[in-house]
Amino acid sequence: MGQLMKQRLVIVGNGMAPGRMLEHLLDAAPGRYDVTIFNAEPRVNYDRIMLSPVLTGEKEFEQIIIHGDGWYIKNGITLYKGHKITAIDRVAKTVTSDHGVVEPYDKLVIATGSVPLILPVPGNNLAGVLSFRDLDDVNAMMLAAQSRSKAVVIGGGLLGLEAAAGLKMQEMDVTVLHLMPTLMERQLDPAAGYLLQKSIEDRGIKVITKAVTKAILGERKVEGVELADGRIIPATLVVMAAGIRPNIGLAKDAGLDVNRGILAGKGMQTSDPDILAVGECAEVAGQVYGLVAPLYEMARVAAAKLAGDDNAEFVHSDTPTKLKVTGIDLFSLGDFADGDDRQEIVLRDASAGVYKRLVLKDDRIIGTVLFGDTADGAWFNDLKKKQTDISEMRETLIFGQAYQGGTPLDPTAAVAALPDDAEICGCNGVCKGKIVGEIRAKGLTSLDDVRAHTKASASCGSCTGLVEQLMTLTLGDAYNPAAVQPMCGCTSLGHDDVRRLIKAKSLKSINAVMQELEWKTSCGCAKCRPALNYYLVCDWPGEYADDYQSRFINERAHANIQKDGTYSVVPRMWGGVTSAKELRAIADVVDKFNIPTVKVTGGQRIDMLGIKKEDLPAVWADLGKAGFVSGHAYAKGLRTVKTCVGTDWCRFGTQDSTGLGIRIEKFMWGSWTPAKVKMAVSGCPRNCAEATCKDVGVICVDSGFEIHFAGAAGLDIKGTEVLGLVKTEDEALEVIVALVQMYREQARYLERIYKWTKRIGIPEIRRQVLDDAEKRKGYFDRFVYSQKFAQVDPWSERVSGLHKHEFRPLATVGMAEAAE
């Protein structure tokens, strides 16, 4: 016989692995087999990995087809679409489909893939519960998305996140539920998981971690998901993406050896020598696989085997994981757990959202996690695969291939090399050419100017570094970026940048600020910590938990430390008005605690000096009984509102200055400010309350209230500026509150109002708090909201036992104990 009789090859399953296997086989041994494929899905072979872009609408199904109908015809392959094989008869060597087709084989390849894990919870079979596995699922999801309503994706792994991103693109309101504390925990370490969660949330997708699904709710179709903690998330679509398991039912029924997958040797043959297994259903050397690279490796080996090469063997290699969500760059490879015998190299560039981590063992890369910049993933993968000794380039390894061998790339040179149309500011879509052009045309020399004219780095500010490099490049020595005074030695950022970034990046804890803004120290210093604490208290009222240990001792002990370590106590006297009862209570306290000095302050109240710290709570308890609250004489906050007697008594008084002063003080006490704020209200231009050297002052006149601000009477002496005249007390209060709130939101820590005003300019302040009613209302409302959390008397809190430890020694070691 001149020609070998053709053998019959039957393939169960028509996914990517058998598709690739056939390509290899047709190359290696054309015409050796008559091939018949049974595909449970009613369609040709397509790229399952690209289902995500189909769901997002970035691709059509036609674009992801690997083998069209023509390919099967050309290669003489019989494809049964929509036929599911229900039984294998290994004795008769036939397979039977659910439509009754019985096909004999000489060689059989099982490629049944995997099935999605459906959580065993009530309601998991309701209409509207889908998995994310094939084109039918995608079509069903796209149909559901037309409602534009709510979807829940169960599972924050690769598949779940891609499904979530796709549904979001289809304009659904999406929530991802993930069982573990961080997303993709099998591929990412917690640091990268955190960045990933942020990126996902930035897309408007809600993420709930540590979410245990208890039930899917609904009568006949899905109405919501109930979590174990009782929360209910409304949804009309639930996508189960909690994992997959190999589809081994058919093989098991046929009596083949199975474990998690169908057991296959290194040549991909099963326990029956005429049957091979490839793809997600196969288990080789104790491993099952879900990523395409090892599945293609299986395909290569199986094809070689079928072509008669008995030496082909499956070789395990770690495969990098990548997430296919546009705009999220993520790369994970190998083993990245900590261990005593391992070292790590970490690079964080928080402003760019970059995190890179290499795990080394014996000077070789064994694991890599890249987030935000994955350009060097392939290179790291190569180094790992080849087990390259990296000790020579260890210092620069993390910076990537471009930095090896030769001089490190100067960042300015890198910016110089960018083309003119390279986008610098993503927020505002500003490219390099535009920025350079404006700098030249308008003669811009400061970052603020560039921001004002081009909007580059004016939103989130994460491209500030790039913009500055462009300025250096364009202006040469004329540009001095160091003009911005850093907050302290822990950072190169100035106060204004830090404040802006706290808001732009929604940083809500000192730890978050230090991580995201790349603090150079592990826990800051005595300069930056109180400043950050203030910024966070001011920007996130009700959300930020005050960091007590970041406050200066006066604000921790709620009294003023004196040079000998004792404290002074100043109770509040509203508007400087007191009574016999109050004075008597003060006298009693002074006697009871042997307080050495009692003095009247410049702010119209009484200071008791020389009190031992241990006595403070008892002193406050007694003062509290007489109705006193803290005067905050120690605070970067509202101090006093000094008044004169106004129309109550004074023959010149034009308005009730005492009443207004008390009203302002009662409205504003307890608020924290960048530096101390002292106020005064005078009943006539004779100005007995000395309102014209205060941070904020009011001069009452016949026609209303003249509002003054930005005075100083300390290190500097400066008369106030006039903000404007208002007619009523209500207006006066609203303008003053708005002014103080604007100052609270914008000033640098420890910057008094007069210094802030000098920077901002009087016209701008006047425009915002006097002329622009809407802005004024906004400032006013935000102040009122923050007062809900600020107006708590710190003294009575401590009398009730808060921070007890602050006022007691840890231990007293007596003479006897020490000497015994």
Partner: protein
């Protein structure tokens, strides 16, 4: 020298301090962000400020009176300032802290 039990580490706030009254004066016991414990005299070498009342950062404290920064490890002033404060040994056994007190000095006191 003698070890005297002074309480437990959890009684001291992280990035904070508590005082111990002893016959040899006030001792400040600090707990850092990474839970290391240090004891030094509660007396700034500059003008005697109570270091226990300062802001704790890294293994250093900033004096509340004039912002000298004192190393908790060595007791020495950091930066441009010169001066040092006495450090004392502290040891932990389980959660319990023990401070090394000079027995001789206390007898004399």
């Amino acid at each position: 020298m003698k070890w005297v039990e002074i309480g437990s580490a959890s009684d001291i706030p992280q990035r904070g301090a508590r005082c111990i009254e002893t016959p040899e004066g006030k001792i400040a016991v600090f707990r850092t962000a990474d839970n290391r414990i240090f004891a030094i005299e509660d007396h700034c070498p500059h003008r005697g400020g109570p270091l226990s009342q300062g802001i704790v950062h890294g293994a250093a404290v900033t004096c509340p009176l004039h912002n000298w920064v004192i190393s908790l490890e060595t007791g020495k002033a950091l930066g441009a300032d010169e001066g040092a404060v006495r450090t004392l040994e502290v040891k932990a056994e389980g959660d319990k802290l023990f401070l090394a007190i000079k027995a001789a000095a206390s007898r004399a006191a």
